[in-house]
Every structure is written in structure tokens, then in C-alpha cells.
């Protein structure tokens, strides 16, 4: 009964989404206050019924209702409660429901917090969000209904993919989706602006906090995914340039470009049409990511649901949403003129470089992700683009980006860089380079060019961020949330760069075959396989090793890597044993049983790897702080288009 209520709630949510879109857009066109109000009420109703459907599905999982096909496919009776709840979004149908719920949530938030916008604009934004909701709800109801019954009911379920039975991966999709879907808000603002042919840049100010919030969630989501891959896949890598990873990274790059170009559009009224295009692009890439992951167009280890019929639907939807927005852009954007001069060392030009470099990186990654598809479509054979390509094309734009970032942060709008700042920045740059050479040579006994550049850039970005912070605290300008957020995010980027440089330059990996009692040494640490034992979990059996790690005869830690066989079958899963440290991680993963009591073990020494994720969290934190800047909450001011021209010193 409960699943039928869920199904019915989903149908009602679709009907409400249709009225949300109709009353929003038609109400704005006819300037009919009643219709526009009806559109707003429909948003709330749509959210309530989508949430009800989601609750019904979760309930079916908690109650182990194996008469529901989706529940029987994605859980079983031995699965612990936490993972049964997480299994709600562990498969295709449930992830779509989560997508729809997330979109409905953002729509309610936008509706609630946009009372200061002029009514027709607000109604159009709501209407466009409604159109997107229709697409997703229709997709679910026609091709991927999570409430389909299984007759006769299964005695027990199939189990959740064991790879997904993990804390980080259980919370990863909701956060990632909040990011993906959040870009829909910026998209809706951009489309409403184009529809109205607005000439002012006030929409940039309204869009900024929403974009920052979505970008923050996406950052956390990507970091969680990377952390998960590190300890769960058993290879010790933290990024694989897998198509599914790229699918989340490309909207992030577009979103990063967008939050920077929004700043220019808001403060100086420049780059208007470019910013609109970026807003459309960021959400388009989110949809494209969904399409790539769900359709089976590209093969990937992560794509756990593939079905061509669904692919056709998503492609049609994609074409309607993105194609429609781009045609709208081609029609309206030429009318947007922005004429204002700025100097070559002004903040505007640095943000222009930022955008050019980020979009270059984005374009090259998109090309690499889709290249196999192009080749296949042109009958040139199926090929695969490996990490060497992605690493190269990502590094080339990133190095100048980091170098310019330190200066750009300190540049003033319109004018050039102040003489006094120039001297201080030179000092920071010199100190970073010197420190990079000393640290690179002393700590690791090597002076490789790329390592030195990486270290120097990391220190430079962190140093320049701290300099900005110190000057702000000393000066009379104060420290608004937007600036504090920027400083923290940039510092985090420097920290992440430090981590990437450290781990890529100085990591040591060794695959060894050890019997109980044998030892192997890497980076001065001795790893001794002390014991092997059988373990039993709630829904798996496995073996666990005791790996005693010591340095110069002193015990450091005991790693306990596991190899698990889940009762539901499938490949054995590795659970790496990791000792976390500020300077390095020590990593041991259990490989195959080689017979005669010998096991293959993968031992790794990963210097500074923690800083990659710590940096990413700081980046997200910075985004969050900037999104909460008081400036965005001053409602009365928000609707004054005149503030575009005010030269704001607060950044």
C-alpha cells in the first residue's frame, strides 16, 4: 500500500510541476498576479509530494519490502539499517528521485527567499525550474518507476552493490546532487533574464549566493568521492579521470568560472552575455553528466545503471533544455551591451584570465571524455583516453591560473595594481620560490622542475591569501563575508595544490608478496605481515591482516587491511588499512592469496595526501561563507538596479 501511495504522490508532484511551470511562465507573460501566486504555491506542493514519494521509498527499504522491484534489487535482509536507508539512492530509480527531491528543495528555497525580486521575474524563475522538474518526474514515471512491484515478491533481496556499502559513498550522492541540481537555480535566473531581455546586471547579484551554495555542495561531493576512491577501490589513487568523475568535475570547473565571472558582472556590469552563457553551461554539464552516467554511452566502472531506452529520453530532455536555452541565448544575448574600460592589471583582466584558463581546461577535459564517443560514432574504432592525456591538459592551464591568482586577488577593480601591494607580492613570490627549492631539496633530496613549480605555486597561493587577510584585518576596509570566503577558498586551493604536488612527486608504491612473518620496507618504514585471520561482518565474510609498521625498530602503527566477500556474491572487495598522518599516509591493501600462506600486498607511502581533501573542504567552506555575505541578505537593496555602478571596495 505504501509504495502505491508513493507512486501516486509522484504523479501528483508531476501535475503540480506542470502547473508550476504554466502559472509561473504564463502568469509572468500576462502579468497576472493570481496566476503567479498559484505558481508559487505549486512549488511548495511539488516539494511536499516529492518528499512524500521519497519517504515512501525509504520506508519500503527500512521495512524490507521485497515486493517492490527496486527494493529487492538494491538491498537484502542482512543489510544494516544505515545502508538500507542509503540504498534508497543506491540505484538508478532512487537516484533520480533524489535528483527530483533536491530540485524541489532548491525551488522551495528560491521561492521563499526571493520575495524582493520583481514579481514577473520571480515567476519566470519558478516556471523554468518547474519545466526542469517536469522532465525529471516524467522520466521517472515513464521509464524508471521506483515503485514497480515484483510479482511474486522475492524472498530476499539482491543486495546493495558492495562498493556502495560505505559511509562516504552513502552520503556522497545527496551532497553531489545538491551541487549538480543547485546550478539549476543559476540556469533559471539566466533564462529568465534572457526571456525578459533585461539589460541591467542586478540578476548577477541575485544569482551569486545561489551559485556559491551549489558550488560548495559540489566541491564537498567531489572531495568525498575522491576520498572514497582512495580507501575503497584498493589502488590508493585519489583521482582516476574516469568518465563519471569527469562528469562531476566539468560542472565544477564551469561553476568556478561562473562564480568569478558573476563577480565582474555584478560589480562592473561587464561580461554580461558571457556570464549568462556560463550559467547555462554549468547546468548543461550537470545534465550531461547525468546523461553520460545513466545512458551507457560511455562505459565506466561507476555506471551501475545503463539502459539505452532511458538514454533516448534523457537525450531528448537534454536537447529541449540545453538547446532551448542556447537558442534563447543566440536570440537575446546580442542585445546585451557592456562597454567599460579597464586596465591590464585590474581585477577585471585577472578574472578574464581566470575564466579563459578554466574554460580551456574544461573544454579539453570534455574533449577527452567524449573523444572515444566521437571516434566510435565515426566508425574509427573504440578507443579510450587515459589519465596521461587528462593530466597534461589539466596541468597546462592550471599552472598559469595559480600563478595569476595570487596577483589577481590583490588587484583593484578598474585601476591597476597599487605600488605598495606590488612590493609585498614580490616578496611573497620570492619567499615561496626560495622555500620551495629548500623544502624540495632538503626534505626529499630532489629538485625536479615540476615538483619545484608545484611547491612554489602552492606556497605562493597560500602566502598571497594570507597577505590579503592580514592587510584586510589591519586596514579600515573591514572583512566582509565575501572577502573572507575568497581568502579561505584560495588558501584551500593552495593547500590542495601542496597535497597534489607532494603525493604525485614523492609517493612510493610497492607490490610485494609476503608470508606471515615476512617484511618489506618502503620509505624507511618496515611493513611486517604479522598475522592473518578470518573475519565475519553482518553480511560478508573475509580475511584481515595485521601489518605491523615500524621505523628504526620503533613501532608506528598496526594496519588492518581486509578483503571481503559479500554473501550476495560478486568480486571480493578490498578495505585498505590506512594510518593517517599530517605529513604522510601509510597504506596497505590486501591482494590475492598466492597460496602456501603467501599474500600479495600493496604498500604505499603517500606524503601530504590529506591536504588534497582538507584543501577541498576549505574551498567549500570559503564558498559557504561567501554565500552568506550580509550584502546578499539586504533585501531592500537587492531590487535596485542602480547598484551596478557603485564601485564597491569590499571585493
Amino acid at each position: 500500500m505504501i509504495p502505491e501511495i508513493g507512486h501516486f504522490a509522484l504523479i501528483l508532484a508531476l501535475l503540480l510541476a506542470i502547473s508550476q511551470a504554466f502559472f509561473g511562465l504564463a502568469g509572468a507573460a500576462r502579468r497576472h498576479a493570481g496566476w503567479m501566486a498559484a505558481g508559487r504555491s505549486a512549488v511548495v506542493g511539488q516539494f511536499v509530494f516529492t518528499a512524500l514519494a521519497f519517504g515512501a521509498l525509504t520506508y519500503a527499504f527500512v521495512q524490507k519490502d521485497f515486493s517492490v522491484l527496486y527494493v529487492a534489487t538494491n538491498s537484502n535482509s542482512e543489510l544494516p539499517l544505515f545502508y538500507r536507508v542509503a540504498a534508497t539512492w543506491g540505484g538508478h530509480e532512487g537516484s533520480l528521485l533524489l535528483w527530483a527531491l533536491s530540485l524541489a528543495g532548491w525551488s522551495v528555497a528560491v521561492t521563499a527567499l526571493s520575495a524582493s525580486l520583481d514579481a514577473p521575474f520571480r515567476a519566470r524563475v519558478i516556471g523554468i525550474l518547474g519545466l526542469i522538474s517536469i522532465g525529471f518526474l516524467l522520466f521517472m514515471l515513464t521509464t524508471s518507476n521506483p515503485f514497480d512491484r515484483l510479482v511474486p515478491a522475492a524472498a530476499d533481496g539482491n543486495d546493495l552493490n558492495p562498493l556502495l556499502q560505505d559511509f562516504a559513498l552513502a552520503v556522497h550522492p545527496p551532497i553531489l546532487y545538491l551541487g549538480y541540481v543547485g546550478f539549476a537555480v543559476a540556469f533559471a535566473f539566466a533564462c529568465a533574464t534572457l526571456l525578459e531581455g533585461r539589460l541591467d546586471a542586478a540578476w548577477a547579484k541575485w544569482t551569486r549566493p545561489w551559485t556559491l551554495a551549489a558550488w560548495m555542495f559540489l566541491t564537498v561531493g567531489i572531495a568525498l568521492g575522491s576520498w572514497w576512491a582512495y580507501y575503497e577501490l584498493g589502488w590508493g589513487g585519489w583521482w582516476f579521470w574516469d568518465p563519471v568523475e569527469n562528469a562531476s568535475f566539468m560542472p565544477w570547473l564551469a561553476g568556478t568560472a561562473l562564480i568569478h565571472s558573476l563577480a565582474v558582472t555584478e560589480k562592473r556590469g561587464l561580461f554580461k552575455s558571457w556570464t549568462l552563457l556560463l550559467a547555462v553551461t554549468a547546468f548543461s554539464l550537470s545534465l550531461l553528466g547525468t546523461f553520460l552516467v545513466r545512458s551507457g554511452v560511455l562505459i565506466s566502472v561507476h555506471a551501475f545503471a545503463t539502459d539505452p531506452a532511458r538514454g533516448i529520453f534523457i537525450l531528448g530532455f537534454l536537447t529541449a533544455v540545453i538547446g532551448g536555452a542556447l537558442v534563447l541565448y543566440a536570440w537575446r544575448a546580442p542585445g546585451l551591451k557592456s562597454a567599460a574600460g579597464f586596465e591590464i592589471t585590474s581585477r577585471e583582466s585577472f578574472l578574464l584570465f581566470n575564466n579563459a584558463l578554466l574554460v580551456a581546461a574544461l573544454g579539453l577535459i570534455l574533449l577527452g571524455t567524449l573523444y572515444p564517443l566521437f571516434m566510435d560514432a565515426l566508425e574509427l574504432g573504440k578507443i579510450s583516453v587515459g589519465p596521461p592525456y587528462f593530466e597534461l591538459v589539466f596541468l597546462v592551464p592550471m599552472l598559469p591560473l595559480l600563478a595569476l591568482l595570487g596577483v589577481g586577488m590583490h588587484a583593484a577593480w578598474k585601476r591597476g595594481l597599487l605600488q605598495s601591494k606590488r612590493r609585498r607580492l614580490m616578496a611573497v613570490a620570492g619567499a615561496s620560490l626560495a622555500l620551495a627549492v629548500v623544502v624540495g631539496a632538503a626534505a626529499y633530496g630532489a629538485l625536479r622542475p615540476l615538483t619545484t613549480i608545484g611547491l612554489a605555486l602552492a606556497l605562493w597561493v597560500m602566502g598571497a591569501s594570507l597577505l590579503e587577510l592580514v592587510q584586510r584585518l589591519r586596514g579600515r576596509q573591514g572583512l566582509p563575508g565575501a572577502v573572507l570566503g575568497m581568502v579561505i577558498a584560495h588558501f584551500g586551493l593552495g593547500l590542495a595544490t601542496l597535497g597534489v604536488t607532494g603525493v604525485q612527486s614523492f609517493k612510493i608504491e610497492k607490490d610485494v608478496a609476503l608470508g606471515v612473518g615476512d617484511a618489506a620496507t618502503i620509505a624507511g618504514y618496515e611493513f611486517r605481515l604479522a598475522a592473518m585471520r578470518d573475519v565475519r561482518g553482518p553480511n560478508y565474510i573475509g580475511v584481515e591482516a595485521d601489518v605491523l609498521v615500524s621505523r628504526d625498530g620503533r613501532a608506528v602503527t598496526t594496519l588492518k587491511p581486509q578483503k571481503r566477500l559479500y554473501n550476495s556474491g560478486g568480486n571480493p572487495m578490498t578495505e585498505a588499512g590506512i594510518e593517517v598522518g599530517a605529513a604522510r599516509d601509510l597504506f596497505a591493501a590486501l591482494g590475492d592469496d598466492l597460496g602456501q600462506g603467501r599474500w600479495s600486498l600493496r604498500l604505499q607511502y603517500k606524503p601530504l595526501i590529506r591536504y588534497i581533501w582538507l584543501g577541498a573542504l576549505l574551498i567549500a567552506l570559503g564558498g559557504g561563507i561567501a554565500a552568506l555575505d550580509r550584502r546578499y541578505r539586504r533585501r531592500a537593496e537587492a531590487s535596485e538596479p542602480a547598484m551596478v555602478a557603485t564601485a564597491d571596495a569590499s571585493g
Partner: protein, 179 residues
């Protein structure tokens, strides 16, 4: 108002992309398309992984059946199948050549040192040209080439002892490739 064309570019680029997706969706990614089977194996001659001065190629084993295994250190499936490859090499039925694909020479050599070397020779293909000739779309892939130089069998993805027994060994027995 005249429509400036540059604003139309994003829409046009997107339309082209949709075209590719439509073609891409017609193709079943799970289907093993192996137009090479039954056809002569593409010829190649590449640097040896271990010694750049030495060349290895498809002519090295002419007149007898041989295996070509495409691998790279960045490929997880290759690590998975490595023990099977070592076991096949120990059977000593036919020579196995490695094609090291889009990889770093030092990393690849270290891999062989650490995990063991099942290959009689390894061709080094950092740019992936030869792999394209062979229609490789992902590592690992394994080809069985008969004594007449024709491709007899192709495995996409990691090879396991079961796949080896089921798909490859019958060809060897039929072709009288024992010893």
C-alpha cells in the same frame, strides 16, 4: 536586428554534440565488436619497452600462434588479470607479447619488475597508434593470432582462467598449436 553569428555558435556546437550522442546510443556498448577476427593481424614494429634500440613487432612470431596483451600501469583491470597472464606464460604453449599502451616507460618497467613478467617481448606504444590499428578501446585487451597471421580470438577486459579455457584454448587445439 541582424543576428550576430558568434552568439549562435554555442547552439550549433551543442547540436553537433547531440548528433554524436544519437549515433552513440545506437551502439551497444556491451557488444563485442571485433571486425578484426578472421582478418590478418595489423602489422606493427615498435620500440621494445626494455631497450629503445631494439624493435619488436608482429613479424617476430610469424608462422606460429601467439598472444598480444594490451596493458598499462594506470589500468586496474590489468593488475587484476596479471596473475592469469603469468599462469598462461608458465603453461609455455605459445609466446605472449605485451603492448604497453599510453604509459610511462619507467612505471611500466617497475610494474614488470614487481609483479613478474609474463611477456616474451613488450612493444612500447606511448602514443597509442598501434592500439588504434588494432581497434583497442580500453585496456586490458588480449588477442590470439594464429599461425597464418589471422586474429582468432579477442578478449575485452581482464582475462580469467575460465575465459582462457573456454575461449582461447579450443582455438589452440583446433590449430594444432600445442608445443
Amino acid at each position: 536586428m541582424k543576428l550576430p553569428l558568434r552568439f549562435l555558435l554555442p547552439a550549433v556546437a551543442f547540436a553537433a554534440l547531440v548528433g554524436f550522442f544519437i549515433v552513440g546510443l545506437q551502439k551497444d556498448p556491451g557488444e563485442i565488436r571485433s571486425p578484426l577476427i578472421g582478418k590478418p593481424a595489423p602489422a606493427f614494429s615498435l620500440e621494445s619497452l626494455g631497450d629503445p634500440a631494439w624493435r619488436v613487432g608482429s613479424a617476430d612470431f610469424a608462422g606460429r600462434p601467439w598472444l598480444l596483451n594490451v596493458w598499462a600501469t594506470w589500468c586496474g583491470g590489468c593488475r587484476e588479470e596479471h596473475q592469469t597472464l603469468l599462469a598462461i606464460a608458465r603453461e609455455n604453449r605459445l609466446p605472449m607479447m605485451g603492448l604497453n599502451w599510453r604509459d610511462d616507460r619507467n612505471l611500466a618497467l617497475r610494474w614488470l619488475e614487481q609483479l613478474g613478467n609474463p611477456y616474451v617481448a613488450v612493444a612500447y606504444d606511448p602514443e597509442g597508434r598501434t592500439a588504434i590499428d588494432w581497434g583497442v578501446y580500453g585496456a586490458p585487451e588480449t588477442f590470439l593470432i594464429g599461425a597464418d597471421g589471422r586474429v582468432l580470438q579477442k578478449q575485452i577486459g581482464p582475462i580469467t582462467p575460465e575465459i582462457w579455457q573456454r575461449d582461447f584454448v579450443p582455438h589452440l587445439q583446433a590449430a594444432g598449436g600445442e608445443g
